[in-house]
Symmetry: C2
């Protein structure tokens, strides 16, 4: 086959692909707030949430963030996003539960963090709410799932919510619009690489 | 079982978990640049890369970004990250291949973008390099994979690289330190929801 024929076939194939993509884009016409869940054991659940925060800020949108687990990790994004006026940032106190070892305090902290989340979910000036590691708090029963689902359902219709953390409960997956299961294929930590600034910290 | 006993058992379990985590953290002592690959058909591959950019900037690090596919999407993050002095941002011209329908131009554009990437991979003042959608360019054979692998191997030893896009080639997965397969469980687009600012745009 000559190069000319190859090029012609390539153009034809791409033309077909373009038609399919254009049709799909035309059909997807709803504009409304969506719930996005990033779950699974792999890396990138929270990072993807923070990437969406960056994208929203790029459009001049207002963003609310509640981090349900504050550990020794996850400090770079806090330092970074706190500097923007368009960002409201709350961090649940006290760190990982295996650091605190006090269940009643964990529950109290989670409930206080949820009160912050609820305020964001009632504020229609907030375009995007990131509930980082909420799934962990739900998995450990620190929060009442029906209450969480109700507050999510009652949010402003155009508001987007991103929820991260491994072990997303099935009822949350049901009501979500977009769910990604981030599967770990390999992790540097297991090969003896320390958590490093800009990567995990 | 009394509440006191439950609390005691909880503390004991959490204490054990803390010991395991602390030991794992002690053992992971290597500090070196890592290659992180976000692949799969789900949402969040690029967003997770941009979240890592935010984290690195939070630590005052320098970041280089090359986007190998510029479509009608993905404009929020560009607008956002271009405003920082610590960020070098290159976008490959011309948009998706099914928009351009010209393979030789696609190859030319990809090669020009790789020249930008190589310059970043030779600059030891850059802490983190994001090669967004590089996997697509590799999958379509727009770039020579051995050359890409060699340039990655020859980068400064402390430099981190994040590579995104579906269909990561096996040889790239082999040399990567951390690989996440982001699997689509559900996507709002399929339920007729339009790509929206702050979410996909």
């Amino acid at each position: 086959m000559s190069e000319e024929q190859t090029d012609a076939r390539y153009r034809e194939r791409m033309q077909k692909k373009k038609e399919i993509m254009d049709a799909r884009i035309r059909e997807a016409s709803d504009e409304r707030g969506v719930i996005i869940v990033n779950t699974g054991t792999g890396k990138g659940k929270s990072s993807a949430g923070f990437g969406m925060v960056a994208r929203a800020l790029g459009h001049g949108q207002r963003v609310g963030i509640v981090q349900f687990i504050k550990g020794q990790f996850a400090t770079g994004e806090e330092a970074f996003f706190r500097q923007f006026d368009n960002v409201t940032y709350h961090v649940m106190g006290e760190g990982y539960t295996w650091e605190t070892q006090d269940r009643s305090r964990d529950v109290e902290m989670a409930e206080a963090a949820w009160a912050q989340a609820r305020a964001l979910l009632q504020d229609e000036t907030i375009d995007l709410v990131l509930l980082d590691e909420l799934n962990i708090a739900l998995k450990k029963d620190f929060l009442d799932l029906p209450t969480v689902l109700e507050d999510l359902a009652n949010r402003p219709p155009m508001q987007h919510v991103v929820i991260t953390g491994r072990g997303a409960p099935q009822d949350l997956i049901e009501i979500a619009d977009t769910v990604t299961d981030m599967r770990k294929e390999k992790h540097a930590f297991e090969a003896g690489v320390k958590a490093q600034k800009g990567v995990e910290l």
